[in-house]
């Protein structure tokens, strides 16, 4: 009986859920689509938040950046939870192998002294920057309108703690299995002059009060930091006999390339929106005009200290190049960050 059943072909009566058929036509939907599109409620919220009575529980007005159709943005990586944790599990496993290799060959101890100081005094403290990035991204996960953006922000938030832990594990290794290097790094984050610009920047970004503005501010700083610390310095390290710095940096550089994919897609969706695109572009220009110079100043302060430690590093110059590249990629979206407004806010 059962065997007969199993050979019988039973035609499905529908291919997927109705809201996906209405959006994409009568075709089977991917697991990304089924697990993402439309999950956030949009109507009949019962009560106003006690902590924000002027808004609904989910409300486009939590940001100046608005999409007419929130699902005009989708994650180009198509990440839902299962592939997300699988990908990150591999990232951390691969990082763990790198770190094991460095430790078992005692390579961290053989880092040139300047690079060791660079790592401990200027890179490890960025675990706190990553923690700030987590909080900004978590805020975006809560307040973004629509599941697609919120989901990307939510994973990005967890990524940031992961990045912080990557840095922390490097610190534990540098400390010979103790937390000494981490303690030193924290003291530097709090007091080292080279880092105060960046700390001020993160603290101010965290209280900007508009999740979209906060995310853009974070991304502007990321774009400079990641370009310089994990790409530019990666090459400098290889030439300067600090191969283990390069081996570690590749994991964070790889992460940022992945992060860029969804953030760039979001900027594109914002600026391409048929109804709100022009206003979004204007907001983006204003936010960039306000925050990019601040980010550049803060990261330059940090990189100046790098150039002091490693004289041929050219880190300050790399920041300026990265800032130009940010301006250029915004311009490609039709977002003009005027030099004048840059100077004003600087």
């Amino acid at each position: 009986m059962q065997y007969e059943l199993r050979t019988q072909v039973i035609e499905p009566i529908r291919k997927t859920f109705t809201h996906l058929v209405e959006r994409y036509g009568d075709r089977p939907a991917s697991r990304y689509e089924e697990g993402t599109i439309g999950l956030q409620a949009t109507e009949h919220f019962h009560y106003r938040p006690l902590w924000a009575p002027d808004k609904e529980l989910y409300d486009p007005a939590y940001s100046r950046f608005v999409l007419t159709d929130p699902y005009s943005f989708t994650d180009p990586r198509q990440l839902y939870y299962a592939p997300y944790v699988t990908a990150r599990s591999q990232l951390h496993e691969s990082f763990g192998k790198t770190l094991d290799y460095l430790e078992s060959h005692n390579l961290l101890a053989r880092l040139p002294e300047a690079w060791r100081q660079l790592l401990t005094g200027l890179v490890l403290p960025l675990r706190h920057y990553e923690s700030g990035g987590q909080m900004i991204s978590s805020n975006a996960c809560r307040f973004a309108y629509g599941t697609t953006i919120a989901q990307c922000a939510g994973y990005a938030a967890f990524d940031r703690v992961g990045n912080a832990q990557i840095l922390s594990r490097i610190g534990l290794a540098l400390g010979g299995g103790t937390t000494d290097a981490l303690a030193e790094a924290k003291a530097a984050w709090m007091d080292a002059p080279a880092l105060q610009g960046l700390r001020r920047y993160v603290e101010q970004a965290m209280v900007a009060g508009d999740w979209g503005v906060e995310m853009v501010a974070l991304d502007l700083a990321d774009s400079l930091l990641y370009a310089v610390l994990y790409r530019h310095l990666d090459e400098v390290a290889l030439l300067g006999g600090a191969g283990s710095y390069s081996l570690l940096a590749q994991h964070l550089a790889g992460w940022f390339a992945d992060q860029r994919r969804w953030v760039d897609a979001l900027y594109k969706a914002w600026t391409a929106d048929p109804q709100t695109g022009a206003a979004n572009a204007e907001h983006l220009a204003a936010v960039a005009a306000e925050w990019l110079p601040k980010a550049q100043a803060a990261v330059t302060q940090l990189t100046a200290a790098i150039d002091e430690l490693v004289p041929d590093a050219g880190a300050v110059g790399a920041v300026a190049a990265a800032a130009d590249s940010v301006t250029a990629s915004l311009a490609a979206l039709g977002v003009t960050v005027s030099a004048q407004s840059k100077e004003e806010s600087a």
């Binding site: 859920f17 009560y47 996960c141 001020r200």
Partner: protein, 511 residues
Amino acid sequence: MTATPTRPARKLSMKARYSALTRDLDWEPSYVSSAEMFPYTSFEGIKIHDWSKWEDPFRLTVDAYYKYQAEKDKRLYAVLDGFAQSQGHLSLSQASYLNAMKIFLGGVTPLEYQAHRNFAFLSRHFNGPGPRFAALCQSQDEIRHAQTEIHTLSNYNKYYSGMHSFLKQHDRVWYMSVPKSYFDDALSAGPFEFLIAIGFSFEYLLTNLLFVPFMSGASFNGDLPTMTFGFSAQSDESRHMTLGLEAIKFLLEQDEDNVPIVQEWVDKWFWRGYRVAAIVAQMLDYMLPKPVMSWKEAFELYFEKQMLEGLFPDLEYYGIKPPRHVQQAIDEKEALSHFVYWVFYNFSFAANFTTSIPSTEHQAWLAENYPDTFVEYFQKPRWDKAQRIVDNGGRFFFMGLPQLCQVCQIPMTFPEPGDLNTICQRTSDYNGEHFNLCSDGCKWIFDREPEKYVQAWLPVHQIYQGNCGGPTVPDVLAWYGMQEGDGGEIAGSRDEVNWAAWHGTPAAKEA
């Protein structure tokens, strides 16, 4: 040393490693004030003196989280794929089993998603890194649950009715406003109340009732994917339960002034959650063709024994008493599921699931599990008469719209304390308007925060205001996105007819 050669000698202990990697990321802001950075953690009146006192017994780090969660999902999706490829849906106990899953998908899945969003809120806005990280993990877990539920049930949606429009229906269908308003209530509260509402009252006190016996039931009824998903989700829930328990202890230990505030939240959210659980009660007792554990037994095992006898004596140390109105819940355990399934039997013409008179064997099981109530209060006055109506060629439906409770939003069906023959009706007047409540518990909740509950989007009232597609039942059902075959009577339903055809057995006579 030689006993564990695979463990590196310099490895930090789990506790030290967790602390270095997670707890120590915090810093005191200098360029903005603490109040600017954490604007939401003072208005509720909760006082926290030392955020570092928060303990997370799981001591999970991000790399371990990814590793184990990826492994869990690998196993789960392998089961889902195998089940779909082998047409496993044909080996369910009955097509009607899926009625429970239709309610689950529309009623519970969107809540998991909401939890994902609001734990993200906590993971930004708590002042301390310990609770922020715990909330962050839970936020990730909750989107996992929403998605794995959808992916688990997606295969059934291809062959069965009632699941196709679960998102729209969560926002619109009359009974869905019960779970929706419950969660909206928690989200609209401050971060500490949310933590007690969802983290403690829901995850710790009640979630076992929702998931453990039910998933065991799924297993017993041939639904391997749901069982696998459910137990896999529960392995996350045990972390969430621990977070909930840690949350309440942390708040109670921080300041004595927190105790009365927390007590009121425990009181409110126990009752709010218990009313939502009423829907699960009827799933356990009526919707599983092969029942495994009655609501009453589950309530005794997972609530009375584990919570009232196990947990609350611990909380007594802090001055916390068992939830106000808990006695009413205990008294109702003999009758809760029967009242709620009867509501669904009355109204399934306007729902995404079907109902029927329980079979003779099923009624015998109910009588055996509820010896003091089922036969006298439910079988004789209700089911026997419903059967007579069917025998005469009819089917009893409630041809109108029910009176809803302003707080829990369930049709006002619940009994007066100590009197199963009389519906409990309570009222409150606020700002010159009359409000109806189903119980002393819901009335207490309303009177505490009437400013909140007057905003309730009550489906029945909205239909009468003309906000739900039109004045007639077909108008409203179209607005709900219902399709032919979604609701009504099981006998002769689309699912039943298909099931019979697929199994080569004659369908039951159409009612």
